[in-house]
């Protein structure tokens, strides 16, 4: 009997060591793991227009994809050393926690409960989204304040539905929700005239407008009725890794502010402007603070570009997603993009 007890204690201790090893193994060594592996594992969506998507040749593109490529450029010096893992909205956080991916860039809304409750860190916002409305031009509505007695097509089971209710209640307007489980169904119903209004996040509105029979017949109202800051997420137990990813995003924003682009980054190397010199790692030791080489920021801009370039290439007005900069404009130009100083 005694022997059995000793044995089971030994087994328990063994299991406990294993479990402890599991949880401590990931702490503070994501950077080393990425360097050892020679590639960054990045969790993306299973297809969100303009954010993360593959083309018919299998190449991933999107604003979230660019962020991952920038992180790879910063650490490994090569923006192509990224392996993308498509994740569903349901398994994204667990996969990140389990260590299968190093960073999650999957148009994820930054909220308190996710940041605080999941042992994860949101390292910034790479897209300020928010819920908006699309109506028919012929309806002659130019403001969301004038939406009264309307039928609204909406996806069910999302925060979108709750925001919609709050908005109409707060503004004392009457509406009738027509709920669908898929955005494709909701758009089709709106397009066929079953609703007067279609609502979803603005990033989705413009993309979904292209699904209608005649996109030019529809307009997106200027109001934004909710806050959806979308940002990359990392595990909460690795300070160095959180800093690397956070400052990768900041460098992209700062580069736009200083007017550094993919194209002119090499010529700007000979500039006298100290801010540009610092950002390109020609002055100071920005890399050292993150345990990276001092070319890290140069590599980001040279290989991926600044924030504005990434924005215009993936979700800007020249793409089918067709979004103006809006809130995602630099603070100096009327938006709220603001990077702390890179110095």
């Amino acid at each position: 009997m005694k022997k059995i007890t000793t044995n089971s204690f030994a087994i328990l201790a063994f299991v406990a060591t294993f479990i402890f090893a599991t949880f401590s193994a990931n702490a503070n060594q994501t950077r080393e793991n990425v360097i050892k592996r020679g590639s960054l594992n990045c969790g993306v969506s299973q297809g969100v227009p303009g954010f993360s998507n593959a083309d018919a040749s299998g190449k991933w593109t999107g604003i979230d994809v660019d962020f991952c490529r920038a992180v790879a450029a910063a650490i490994l010096g090569d923006a192509n050393k990224v392996k993308f893992t498509p994740l569903s909205a349901k398994d994204r956080f667990e996969v990140l926690k389990a260590g299968d991916i190093d960073v999650l860039a999957r148009n994820t809304t930054w909220t308190l409960s996710r940041d605080g409750g999941l042992a994860l860190d949101f390292i910034g916002t790479n897209f300020y989204d928010g819920q908006g409305f699309m109506v028919r031009k012929a309806a002659n509505i130019n403001s969301a304040k004038k939406l009264n007695n309307v039928k609204v097509c909406v996806e069910t089971g999302t925060t979108t539905e709750l925001n919609l209710r709050d908005y109409f209640k707060a503004n004392k307007l009457k509406y009738e929700p027509v709920a669908f489980t898929k955005s494709d169904e909701a758009v089709a119903a709106y397009d066929s005239g079953r609703c007067d209004v279609y609502t979803t996040d603005k990033s989705g509105l413009a993309a979904n407008r292209t699904k209608t029979k005649n996109p030019a017949d529809h307009i997106i109202l200027p109001e934004t009725i909710s806050k959806e800051p979308l940002g990359p997420v990392v595990r909460g137990n690795d300070e160095n890794w959180a800093n690397i990813t956070r400052w990768t995003l900041n460098v992209m924003i700062e580069a736009e502010e200083l007017g550094i682009t993919k194209a002119n980054v090499d010529t700007l190397k000979s500039t006298d402007n100290p801010a540009i010199k610092r950002l390109l790692g020609l002055e100071g030791e920005t890399g050292k603070n993150l345990s990276l080489s001092n070319e890290w920021s140069y590599n980001i801009i040279k290989q991926v570009g600044n924030y504005g370039e990434s924005y215009e290439a993936n979700v800007g007005t020249k793409t089918p997603v067709g979004l103006g900069r809006g809130l995602n404009q630099l603070w100096t130009k009327g938006g709220i993009l603001y990077s702390p100083p890179v110095r």
Binding site: A21, T22, A56, P86, D184
Partner: protein, 350 residues
């Protein structure tokens, strides 16, 4: 058929009394309303040739979407220059399945042995890499080929396990019997989604950090175990249909337990439950799209990905029709194949 015949056929089958006439007319009207506009959209007004969404201007279906993305739909992100490996694996599979129709009965067991034990190894090495072939991570596997791989793996995993479980459930040894009952009831009692989530997400949390079992393998095994519980119950149905005399006859010939089961009982039992097994395997085939929820992109997942590419928005209907046709076609094929097996193995004398 002459005019009189058609008239009487119509009278008997469609207009035998007033309510049948009303139903027939109603169905006819619905068909006339739907079919022409569908054909118009799907064929007459459709665009078949092109390279981008902009080539579809006719207002009908845009099958360009399917042709441009076809390779991705079939192979997922599998690297282009290695595609021959996937193709070769499936050609070997198809040839060995087809050869079963043409060879002498004596050779058939060897083909079965090859399919169940040797082909999976060859297929795995071909598709995954090793022995001089470049390693292709499971992360990039996808599309219809992944659907097939999972289905095939599920069948060869679930079938033997199911047979053992079915025998175990009828065992006279209580430990084995109750273990098998508990196993089957447990796996049959939980939804597949739960199994997939547990395999993909919870399982790694219980393992030490350096010990990593591939996600696809975890999911495939989860799927296989899940289906084995259903296979076990189907086969148990077959076992129960056999008269006691078969067991007694086998025993009186001095056969051991395994000999009796493999030579006398199982061949008869499995033969009677071919329709049930087909059902289970078709269900397995059609269950595979659920793996989207754990981030693996099989056929449906790839179509979802493609239709949300910003340059291909609005192709949902074309994509889903394509997926539907593919699934229907292969389910039908499987069903026809097993029907031919059923006829072949039939020992009923008429």
């Amino acid at each position: 058929m002459n005019k009189e015949n058609i008239k009487s056929w119509l009278k008997i089958n469609l207009f035998s009394n007033w309510y049948n006439s009303i139903i027939s007319l109603f169905v006819l009207i619905v068909i006339l309303l739907i079919i022409p506009s569908f054909l118009d959209w799907a064929i007459f007004k459709a665009t078949f040739i092109g390279k981008t969404k902009a080539d579809c201007k006719t207002g009908g279906a845009c099958w360009v979407f399917i042709s441009v993305w076809f390779e991705k739909f079939i192979y997922g992100f599998y690297p282009d220059k290695e595609l021959w490996r996937v193709n070769l694996a499936f050609i070997i599979l198809i040839l060995s399945v087809l050869s079963a129709f043409f060879v002498k009965p004596k050779i058939k067991p060897y083909i079965l042995f090859f399919l169940v034990f040797i082909f999976p190894i060859i297929g795995f090495i071909l598709i995954h890499g090793g022995f001089g072939l470049e390693n292709v991570e499971t992360r990039v596997w996808g599309g219809l080929s992944l659907t097939f791989m999972l289905t095939f793996f599920g069948i060869i995993f679930a079938f033997p396990l199911g047979v053992l479980l079915a025998l175990g459930k009828r065992s006279e040894l209580p430990v084995i019997k109750y273990f098998c009952i508990a196993f089957v009831e447990f796996w049959r009692g939980i939804p597949l989604i739960t199994v997939l989530f547990a395999a993909a997400i919870m399982f790694p949390l219980l393992l030490p950090a350096n010990f990593n079992v591939d996600k696809l393998l975890r999911v495939a095994i989860g799927l296989g175990i899940f289906e084995s519980a259903y296979v076990a119950e189907v086969i148990r149905g077959g076992l129960q249909s056999l008269p006691k005399g078969q067991y007694e006859a086998a025993k009186s010939l001095g056969m051991s337990y395994w000999k009796m089961n493999f030579l006398i009982i199982l061949p008869q039992a499995i033969k009677t439950v071919i329709p049930g097994l087909t059902n289970t395997f078709i269900a397995l085939f059609k269950d595979t799209p659920l793996i989207i929820l754990v981030g693996l992109l099989e056929l449906l997942g790839m179509v979802n990905l493609a239709k949300s590419n910003s340059y291909w928005l609005g192709m949902a209907v074309e994509g889903y029709i394509f997926v539907g046709l593919i699934f229907w076609f292969f389910s039908y094929l499987l069903s026809r194949y097993t029907q031919s097996l059923e006829k072949k193995f039939s020992t009923e004398r008429h």
